[in-house]
Symmetry: C2
Subunit: 515 residues, 2 copies
């Protein structure tokens, strides 16, 4: 296991000693959770049919704009009705192409033990992606920088309940945008061994990330292209548009068999109809349109249908997350994803501005929406605040606690004579307690989920220890984790190759910044 | 509507003026929510059968102790095997008696508009019950007193999402126990017009509460006995015992057709087997035993199967709530309740010591357990902290916000051509937004749930307004509510009759305090 034998990088990259497993907290082992509960389905069969029919009518009668000439050419060649940037496609064609996408696939990062499965009954969690700001209780809220970016990578690597990395957990604004992706991917590949993500923001960024992920995994180009090793996420420009760089990036990945998550960003009442069902319908149309394109390019390309449908505060227009409407939109999209045989992505989102009670209940609502919708890939799983504008160190820890609890919740329940403990009940009878009986002794260490952040002590003990609230406890934990963090092992030759690639590409100027 | 025309009691009971609807917050109207989602069922058919079989074996082979001679005499006469206090009953008898209990019933308080339905797809929420302590941000944590007790009654009456009162939201320790029930019920019946509860702590308390509920509703004894007007909740003394006063109170209510919630308190690993399934099995045996007794006394007595099965922290023995194990136990009990055709009670519980993020996620987990288990009656719905040892003013407000959100979540989703908004999508096309279109204008005021406590503003606005965290916002809200509180109208003649009853019973000494 990568956790047991690690090479420390503290004191410079040349440092090399073995350490025991981290001790800042006792956490769950790495696992790929399986969500066996039946999803919650707010739509009946007619409802699913109505949303499908509406989405197909959008694709047939209104069309989606593809702001990328290559994509329109491909779709035209495939038989779509193309008029300038607008593409209309009929439902039989859509269903045929969508049917080519796999229901489940794997992504294998540089450490094969950190392979993830996307689809079926599986659910995996990733870190927050792309906030421009970060915050912690000591330093307050500030513009993201490389140090914070690295801190979040370390947290992401540390927690076994975080299965993959998203986009930058915080945008390192102190690195020039032309070379940011190079520096960031290098950090990511050194500090984590989990699945990485590429931003679809211009061909250089996408190609560089694929190349670096390939080098880090020690694969030939053929080996890399043979199965998924990283992924991208693209958003539509709602209503009804896909923009140039997103399409470009998605097409580049599709050609190399790498997975694309397609996530329309449809805020009901703003970029989509004010009804959640209407917003879901539009989101489905936008999502499927891009998925069709990718299947035309490379039939069988692994894709994920994403949902980012929520409501706005109609008084201010501000987006809201983790709301009842958000939950229902996520569940409805889950029904549609299963109807199309596609894996589902949703998010652990909230609107709260600090890691307080509102943040906790909004995130709990979002996470229950993930579980109850049959979500396969949870984006923004840990650390998100402010509708995605801030990555919070403390919130990251809080989210890992609740994600762990949900993973514990997903453990299958075993019912048999021995588990039920009739004999123990008989033994204890009408007096006494169960602490001492063998049935308890055999199981008590693992019987229940044991939290690392929740404080279950009584009020007096809690007060004696300083009445420390959750965010303050989380603050201590992330510091302890960063203090003892040890990066995953990496072959020095590969490290050198990565460094050389970054140096070369920086010399070449990196990527254009005119996007 | 009781909300529209009320008699103020501010400035003494003689005050009498009409006021407009309260304005501290904009809340949802009173409604009886219907939970249309399919419950989450962790057990398969064999699992349900195994727990049922185990519970029946407990009743057949081990037996339950009934520490009340009247109850054992009744059960003996009904054919049970009674040996001292231990009662064994065979499964056919149990199933026959349990089958007499209704699947659904109503409870009508003094204001018939506040009638609640218990069972079927209905779910109703009550306030926290029985903590000895209360707390708020200004005064900290303190022993409960009558003023705080009254404050919680006012909050309970104010919020339309709170459908019934539980036991005392905080124990008023400054009222002598012999007369506490009289003073408290008077306060409750004056400050609220919702369903009230009687503690099963001796015959005087139970009989007095029934009498006062009858007087407050202006009913004859016959009218009162004809249908449910209040209820009690009894707990078993796990393992496998029912104590004297609980049984006495339950039997008194059963004779008068008043509902009894039977809630075994089975902490897995302490008073029940360390496995959640085993603890549920024991809980079912204990619960059904009491329900059988009540059906022997008065066939068709409305009863509710309660669950209070959770886990303990195996390091300290401290009870934990809102945990993954707690959720599964609640869902399993829900399956068993449906198997027996009984309504289900569970709780909004948490272990947190202050209304922070942990309190919020634990309560969110508990509330989602309520919804996903098919719970019909949510006890401790608002205000609970510290495993039930403290009633928090701020937590009450937070819980009402999340309960409102869950009620909004339960609104059925309408799917039709008009709702889906295909024409609006066509109208907006590929540019612009949906704010201005008629489809939005027709719906925007009611399209989404609108919170009263959540702050959805952006960080800058939130910071400009003082960066107020959730508990501090809740603090302002409960003060505003108490400030403008107006009690529900009551006929002065009934008020006088209640006062006279309380005075007479106090003169008689109230209830013995040797329990």
């Amino acid at each position: 296991m990568a956790d047991q034998e690690v090479r420390t990088r503290r004191g410079g990259r040349s440092g090399n000693k073995r350490r025991d497993r981290a001790t800042a907290i006792t956490q769950m082992p790495w696992s790929l959770p399986i969500n066996l509960d039946k999803p919650t389905e707010p739509l009946d069969e007619e409802g699913v049919a109505a949303i499908h029919n509406g989405a197909m009518r959008v694709l047939e009668e209104i069309g989606i704009e593809f702001l990328n000439p290559e994509s329109t050419a491909i779709l035209k060649a495939a038989g779509c009705t193309v008029s300038g940037e607008n593409v209309r496609m009929d439902r039989d064609f859509v269903m045929e192409k969508v049917g080519l996408a796999p229901n489940q696939f794997t992504i294998t990062p540089r450490n094969p033990d950190r392979k993830i499965i996307i689809g079926g009954k599986h659910i995996v969690f990733g870190s927050v992606s792309s906030p421009p700001n970060c915050s912690d209780l000591d330093r307050g809220r500030r513009i993201g920088d490389r140090e914070s970016f690295r801190d979040f990578l370390k947290l992401c690597q540390y927690f076994n309940c975080i299965h993959f990395t998203g986009g930058y957990a915080v945008e390192p604004m102190d690195i020039h945008p032309s070379v940011r992706h190079l520096e960031c991917l290098y950090d990511k590949l050194i500090l984590t061994d989990k699945v990485v993500h590429a931003y679809s923001l211009g061909k250089e960024r996408v190609e560089d990330v694929m190349e670096m992920a390939r080098i880090a995994a020690g694969l030939s180009h053929e080996e890399f292209d043979a199965s998924p090793h990283m992924y991208t996420n693209i958003n539509s420009t709602s209503p009804l548009k896909h923009d140039y760089p997103m399409l470009d990036g998605a097409m580049r990945l599709a050609r190399r068999g790498q997975p694309v998550v397609v996530t329309p960003f449809t805020l009901a009442g703003a970029m989509a109809p004010v009804t959640m069902s209407g917003a879901v319908m539009q989101s489905i149309a936008e999502g499927l349109a891009a998925i069709v394109l990718l299947q035309c390019i490379n039939p069988g390309t692994p894709v994920v249908l994403g949902t980012f449908t929520s409501n706005v505060d109609m008084k201010t227009g501000a987006p809201a997350f983790g709301t009842p409407d958000y939950m229902r939109a996520t569940q409805m999209t889950g029904q549609m994803a299963r109807y199309y045989g596609l894996p589902l992505r949703s998010s652990n989102a909230c609107a709260a501005n600090c890691p307080d009670s509102q943040a906790a209940w909004e995130s709990a609502f979002s996470l229950w929406a993930c579980l109850s919708s049959g979500t396969n890939k949870v984006y923004h799983g840990a650390g998100w605040l402010e509708g995605g504008l801030c990555a919070s160190y403390e919130k990251f820890i809080m989210d890992c606690e609740t994600i762990q609890q949900m993973i514990a919740y997903m453990q299958p329940i075993t019912i048999n004579e021995d588990e039920l403990g009739f004999e123990a009940i008989k033994e204890v009878g009408h007096g006494g307690h169960f602490f001492g009986v063998q049935h308890t002794q055999d199981r008590y260490e693992t019987a229940f989920y044991s939290p690392f952040l929740s404080d279950w002590s009584n009020f007096e003990n809690w007060e004696d220890r300083g009445a420390v609230r959750t965010p303050e406890r989380a603050n201590k934990i992330w510091k302890a984790i960063l203090e003892e963090f040890v990066p995953p092992p990496m072959d020095p030759a590969i490290d050198e190759e990565l460094q050389a690639f970054v140096a070369k590409r920086k010399e070449e100027g990196g990527a254009p910044t005119d996007f």
